[in-house]
């Protein structure tokens, strides 16, 4: 069976959920594509409000106040940055039950260029507090996060990529995505290094690394907001003394930076997207490569860390 991308998994799962939950409303800002399955199956609860991100999120807050569960989707850059104040006020401060689903996280827009990249969104969202931030990997984890968001009364920011499709890591049937997934590593002892992955590309990289080196353990995080990160500290502390957090984001405001505060007795390193602006075109992978984010630079960084010098 063909795998779905995170974006398609979102649309499909929300459409299914809405069949049994008539409070769910789907809002798009003219980037959901034609023939949106939600619009086809639940036209009374589907709104393309047009290219108006602030008004869209604020109106979602009005709908939430009236008891609906609105999911608002657009690209990460326009949600987290253009509509930042609307998210801060309605979701962060007032805690309105709005779910923002942000596609094109990181540089998954590839050749679309700097205006469409979002390497700062987690930093912005983290700074607002009280918003659950989920970065699911693959179809199954995305579906599960959408179900968790719909069932929760908390505001959510769900960061997706573009059209790549992946197999999610295995989870037990009834297990929350808030739980860590740990794979690889020599299970009998603490590992020399624990890779922590956030998001799709990072998780794929970490999966490859641990397949090649079973001395390294890989912990996958789906939720990276501050409330969700705190419970990870104890289980992470048991895995290794050194951590390398891999995420398609800037270092500033990264998950690595917050984990470093929560793990003061450990060394926390970061494999991130550096400081350059991705001004050139190319595929998602090519833009990441330009930013120094990828398998070979990650291997080199691991080598440096284990040799005692993290030169990234």
């Amino acid at each position: 069976m063909t795998k779905k991308s995170g974006r398609d998994a979102y649309k499909d799962e929300l459409t299914t959920l809405a069949s049994s939950n008539d409070q769910i409303v789907c809002i798009e800002a003219d980037l959901g594509g034609k023939n949106h399955p939600f619009g086809q199956q639940h036209p009374q609860r589907f709104f393309n409000l047009g290219i108006a991100e602030l008004a869209g999120i604020d109106m979602a807050a009005g709908l939430a106040e009236a008891g609906y569960v609105p999911f608002f989707s657009t690209f990460a850059s326009f949600a987290a940055l253009r509509a930042a104040e609307s998210i801060k006020l309605t979701m962060g401060y007032m805690g309105k039950n709005v779910k923002v689903v942000a596609a094109y996280g990181g540089v998954s827009g590839g050749w679309f260029g700097t205006t469409h990249h979002a390497l700062e969104d987690i930093a912005v969202l983290q700074s607002f507090q009280n918003i659950r931030i989920a970065c699911p990997h693959g179809e199954q984890e995305t579906r599960r996060v959408i179900r968790e968001a719909a069932a929760s009364e908390e505001p959510y920011y769900i960061r997706l990529s573009r059209n790549d499709a992946f197999d999610s890591l295995d989870r037990a049937e009834d297990e929350s995505c808030r739980n860590l997934i740990v794979e690889g590593g020599a299970r009998t002892a603490r590992s020399k290094l624990c890779l922590i992955s956030v998001g799709e590309q990072a998780t794929e990289l970490c999966k490859r690394i641990v397949q090649e080196d079973d001395d390294i353990v890989h912990a996958h995080l789906c939720y990276v907001d501050i409330q969700s990160l705190k419970p990870y500290i104890q289980p992470l502390s048991g895995l290794a003394d050194q951590f390398l957090v891999v995420e398609e984001h800037r270092a500033t405001g990264s998950t690595a930076s917050y984990l470093a505060l929560l793990l003061p007795k450990h060394q926390v390193h970061s494999h991130h997207c550096g400081e350059k602006w991705p001004i050139y075109g190319g595929t998602h992978a090519e833009v990441l490569d330009y930013l120094g984010f990828g398998f070979e630079p990650l291997q080199q960084q691991i080598h440096n860390i284990l040799g005692g010098k993290d030169g990234f």
Binding site: F47, L49, G50, L54, A55, D58, M59, A61, L89, T90
Partner: protein, 266 residues
């Protein structure tokens, strides 16, 4: 017929009394250690009193003050209608008080913190859309300011309201002509305001925003279109010393002066 006219006169007289009581509270808040945005509060208070008198008991209708700097007026209106029990002037602006300088969503009757201008309009539009979906006949009513119309978000929302045919939406604009640094017409004039709203598909009503008969008539929804009420008001209305003066946007006054203003309320 005579009886109906008498009842209406009595109703209006009651609203005038409530507005006077609220104005005294606003003046008291201006006499607090923090002071308050008195000019815009006094221009908006009759609109708030009128809106609450009509819809305070309708759980499906939400009234949002989008020009949140007039929080003193909102607190005063909610207090005179018994929704907020505590006298806001007693603790306004003090440490530990929920009566902050812009509306606090932790208080009864205030679902949204507003004051970053423009946001109250889409909150009300979202609420109205929800009522339309539920078929409750509830309204989204928003009281904004003319200066606030310089924010793009107001027009972004007006665009959506007409596109989604949200007809249970009443947008009252407190046109007092002033803003923080001076007159609206000097800073960024709002030319052809009536025509602008008409171009967005609104039914536009222009009224005297201190005349209760006109206010009550204007805040009725139109079955076919969203409504924009352009309410001509006077900044600082009721206090002769500051009426129409944009300098009275935000003031702190001594208690003695507050007493004098309250005695002389016009």
């Amino acid at each position: 017929m005579e009886l109906a006219i008498d009842i209406q006169r009595e109703e209006i007289s009651l609203l005038v009394d409530k507005a006077k009581e609220a104005r005294k509270l606003i003046i008291d808040m201006a006499a607090s250690p923090t002071g308050c945005h008195i000019g815009g509060s006094l221009s908006a208070i009759d609109l708030l009193i009128g809106a609450y008198s009509k819809y305070v008991e309708d759980p499906n209708t939400l009234i949002i003050l989008s020009k949140g700097h007039a929080a003193a007026a909102l607190y005063a209106a909610l207090h005179v209608y018994g929704i907020i029990k505590d006298n806001p002037a007693d603790s306004y602006g003090k440490a530990g008080s929920l009566f902050t300088g812009h509306p606090n969503h932790k208080l009864s009757g205030i679902p949204f913190a507003t004051g970053s201008l423009g946001h109250g309009i889409p909150y009300a539009a979202g609420w109205a859309l929800a009522q339309k979906m539920k078929q409750t006949n509830g309204l989204g009513i928003v009281i904004g300011g003319d200066g606030e119309l310089q924010e793009g978000l107001c027009w972004e929302t007006a665009q959506i309201v007409q596109a989604q045919s949200i007809t249970n939406f009443v947008y009252i604009v407190d046109c007092n002509g002033g803003q923080n640094d001076g007159y609206v017409h000097d800073i960024s004039p709002l030319r052809n305001l009536r025509q602008r709203f008409e171009a967005f598909g609104f039914a536009v009503k222009e009224i005297n925003g201190h005349h209760f008969e006109e206010i009550l008539a204007a805040i009725e929804p139109d079955p076919d279109r969203p409504v924009a009420v352009l309410a001509n008001t006077i900044k600082g209305k009721g206090v002769a010393a500051i009426e129409g003066n944009p300098e009275a946007h935000y003031v702190k006054i001594p208690e003695k002066l507050a007493h004098k203003w309250k005695v002389n309320l016009s």
